[in-house]
C-alpha cells in the first residue's frame, strides 16, 4: 500500500518536471520543438537587475566586509572621484585613452598584417604551409605565459605591451581571414572565370569580397581578445591604463577602484563589440543570405 503511494507521488513529481520541458503545439510564428525559442531580453534585464540588487543587499546587510566587496553606491562614488580627481596619477579618461591607444594600436597593426597573411594562407598552399605551424602553436598559449619572453626581448616599455596585445589579436584575425577565403563558393569562382576573369581579378572581386564576412568576424573576435589581454599587458611598468589602474588599486587593497575598473573595461569592450556588429551589418548585409 505505502509502496504504491510512494511510487505514485514519485511519478507525480517526475511528470511535473517533464511537463515543464514537454512541448505543446507551437503558436503561430514559432516552430514546434525548436530548442530555446522566444525572446530572452526581458529575462536578461531582470537577471542583471537581480544581480545588482543582490550586490546591494549583501553589502547593505553587512554580510561581506567593504574591503572585499564595497557597495554599488561606493563604487559609483569612486567612479565619479576617479573621473574627476584621478587615481594613480591619471584621471579615468587618461587611463581609458592609454588603454584604448594600446588596444587599437595593436589592433590596427594586426589588421594590416594578419588579414593579408590569412588571405595568402587561404589562396596559397606554400603560405599556408609556412604560417600554419607557428600560428596554430602559439594561438592556444595564454598571453601571460609568453609575457615574460616579450619583456626579455622587447624591454618593459610600450613595445612589449603592444606586442603582447598584437599577438593575441593576430591569431583570430589571420585564421578567420583564412577560413573566409576557403568559404567562398567554388561556383562563384568558376562563374567569374567563365566570364573571362583573370586569377588576380578572381582574388580581388570574388574571393576577397566573399571572405569579407569572416574577415570582419575575425576583427570583432580580435578586438575582444585585445581587451582580454589588456590587463596582462599593463602588468609590468605601466604608468597609466585601465589595467594598470586595476592592478595598482589591488596592491593597495582599494577594492572599489578594482571593481570600478573591471566594470569600465567590461562596458568599453561590450560597446566595441556592438560597434563591430553594427559595422558588419552595414558592410556585409548579405552575410548568411545566400
Amino acid at each position: 500500500m505505502s509502496d504504491t503511494a510512494a511510487t505514485a507521488s514519485k511519478n507525480g513529481v517526475l511528470s511535473a518536471i517533464t511537463n515543464i520541458f514537454s512541448k505543446g503545439p507551437a503558436k503561430p510564428g514559432e516552430s514546434f520543438g525548436a530548442p530555446g525559442q522566444g525572446s530572452s531580453v526581458a529575462i536578461s534585464v531582470a537577471s542583471s537587475l537581480g544581480l545588482l540588487l543582490l550586490w546591494y543587499a549583501v553589502t547593505a546587510m553587512g554580510l561581506i566586509k567593504p574591503l572585499f566587496l564595497p557597495s554599488p553606491a561606493v563604487v559609483f562614488d569612486k567612479f565619479v572621484e576617479v573621473a574627476t580627481e584621478g587615481f594613480g596619477g591619471s584621471t579615468l579618461l587618461d587611463h581609458t585613452l592609454w588603454s584604448m591607444g594600446r588596444v587599437f594600436g595593436a589592433f590596427f597593426a594586426a589588421a594590416l598584417t594578419a588579414i593579408p597573411i590569412g588571405v595568402f594562407m587561404g589562396v596559397n598552399r606554400v603560405m599556408r604551409g609556412i604560417f600554419d605551424p607557428p600560428i596554430e602553436f602559439y594561438r592556444p598559449i595564454p598571453p601571460l605565459a609568453y609575457l615574460p619572453l616579450t619583456i626579455i626581448w622587447f624591454g618593459i616599455g610600450e613595445s612589449s605591451k603592444l606586442i603582447l596585445i598584437y599577438l593575441a589579436v593576430f591569431a583570430p584575425m589571420a585564421l578567420n581571414a583564412r577560413a573566409g577565403v576557403r568559404s567562398v563558393s567554388i561556383e562563384q569562382i568558376h562563374a567569374a572565370y567563365s566570364l573571362g576573369a583573370t586569377r588576380t581579378q578572381v582574388i580581388w572581386h570574388v574571393i576577397l569580397k566573399g571572405a569579407m564576412p569572416e574577415i570582419l568576424t575575425g576583427m570583432r573576435i580580435g578586438i575582444g581578445f585585445g581587451w582580454t589581454t589588456l590587463v596582462a599587458a599593463e602588468m609590468v611598468a605601466a604608468e597609466a591604463g585601465l589595467g594598470y589602474m586595476v592592478l595598482n588599486a589591488s596592491e593597495f587593497l582599494v577594492t572599489d577602484v578594482v571593481i570600478m575598473g573591471i566594470i569600465v573595461i567590461g562596458i568599453i569592450a561590450y560597446l566595441f563589440d556592438l560597434l563591430m556588429r553594427w559595422i558588419e551589418r552595414l558592410l556585409v548585409p548579405w552575410k548568411g543570405q545566400m
Binding site: I186, E187, A192, S194, L195, G196, W286
Partner: protein, 280 residues
C-alpha cells in the same frame, strides 16, 4: 563548326585506391549553331561531368572537346555558364548541392555587368549591354535589387542575363529549373526558349524532367550510367510547335508528345532499376 565532343572518356579516382569511376565512356556529341541540346538520364550517368568538360572546369581523361575546332583548355567567355554543379562521388545517389553563383554583394545590375567590367568594357557600352539582356529576361525593373532578395526563378534569370552579356557562342545550364515550383518552372522554360530563339545561341541543358527535356530540345541525348554513355538521341521539334501556338500545355498534352514521353520514361526507368540509382 560548333562544339564537338570527340571520343571523350572521364575517369574519376574511386573511393578506394586503385578503384576507378568511369563517369563518361567514349562520348561523341556535336552541337552546331542553333542547336538546343538537352541531356537526360538517371543520377550519376555523367551529365554534370559532360557539362563541366564543355565549360572547361575539368579535362577529359581521353579524347577532346573543341569549340570551333579549338581545344577547350579552361573556362572562357565564349562558353557562358548560366549555372553548374560541382559534382562529387555522391552524384549517383543524387547527393549534390547547388549553390548560387551570383555575387550577393552586387545588385542585379552589377551582377549582369560583372563580366563586362572585368573585361574592361567602357561604362556606357557595358550599361547598355547589361540593360539589354536584363530586359530580355524580364528584369528591367529590378536593376537595383539585391540578388539574395530575389526568388529562385528571378535569380536564374540574372544568371542567364549575366552569361549572355559576354556574347558567348553557347550557354550551359545544369538542371537550372530543378529547385523551382511547377508554375515558375514552366514560365522559365518558355523564357529560355524565347531567349534561345532571340539570340540563336547553342544551348546545352541538363534536366531530370522528361517533359522539360522533350519540350525544349532540338536534340535530346539520353544517357545511362556505369559507365556513362549516350544510349539514345532524338531529334525533336516540340519547341517549334510552342512557338507556333504559344500554348505550352497544349504541346505537352498532345498525343505525339505523350507517346515520346512514355518511350523515353521507360528507357530511363530501366536504367534506374538496373543501376539501383536514385529511387524517387
Amino acid at each position: 563548326m560548333g562544339l564537338q565532343v570527340d571520343g571523350v572518356t572521364v575517369i574519376y579516382p574511386g573511393r578506394k585506391p586503385g578503384e576507378e569511376v568511369h563517369a563518361l565512356e567514349n562520348i561523341n556529341l556535336d552541337i552546331s549553331d542553333g542547336d538546343f541540346v538537352v541531356a537526360l538520364g538517371a543520377s550519376g550517368c555523367g551529365k554534370t561531368t559532360l557539362l563541366n568538360l564543355m565549360a572547361g572546369f575539368i579535362a577529359p581523361s581521353e579524347g577532346r572537346v573543341t569549340l570551333d575546332r579549338e581545344a577547350i583548355e579552361g573556362p572562357g567567355k565564349e562558353r557562358g555558364v548560366v549555372n553548374h554543379v560541382v559534382t562529387g562521388p555522391g552524384a549517383d545517389r543524387g547527393v549534390v548541392f547547388q549553390k548560387h553563383a551570383l555575387l550577393p554583394w552586387l545588385t542585379v545590375f552589377e551582377n549582369a555587368e560583372f563580366g563586362l567590367k572585368l573585361q574592361g568594357m567602357p561604362k556606357q557600352e557595358r550599361t547598355e549591354t547589361a540593360s539589354r539582356y536584363l530586359a530580355l529576361v524580364g528584369l528591367e525593373d529590378f536593376h537595383k535589387h539585391a540578388v539574395y532578395q530575389l526568388s529562385g526563378g528571378m535569380q536564374q534569370r540574372v544568371g542567364i542575363a549575366r552569361a549572355l552579356t559576354s556574347n558567348p557562342a553557347m550557354l550551359l545550364m545544369d538542371e537550372p529549373l530543378g529547385a523551382l515550383d511547377a508554375l515558375t518552372r514552366e514560365n522559365l522554360q518558355e523564357l529560355i526558349l524565347d531567349v534561345w530563339r532571340e539570340t540563336g545561341k547553342m544551348i546545352f541543358f541538363i534536366t531530370h524532367s522528361v517533359e522539360e527535356a522533350l519540350f525544349m530540345a532540338t536534340r535530346l541525348v539520353v544517357m545511362s550510367p556505369r559507365p556513362g554513355r549516350i544510349t539514345h538521341t532524338y531529334d525533336l521539334d516540340f519547341q517549334q510547335r510552342f512557338f507556333d501556338c504559344r500554348d505550352a500545355r497544349a504541346v505537352k498534352s498532345s498525343a505525339n508528345f505523350i507517346e515520346v514521353r512514355e518511350k523515353v520514361l521507360s528507357i530511363i526507368h530501366g536504367d534506374e532499376l538496373a543501376g539501383g540509382g536514385n529511387h524517387v
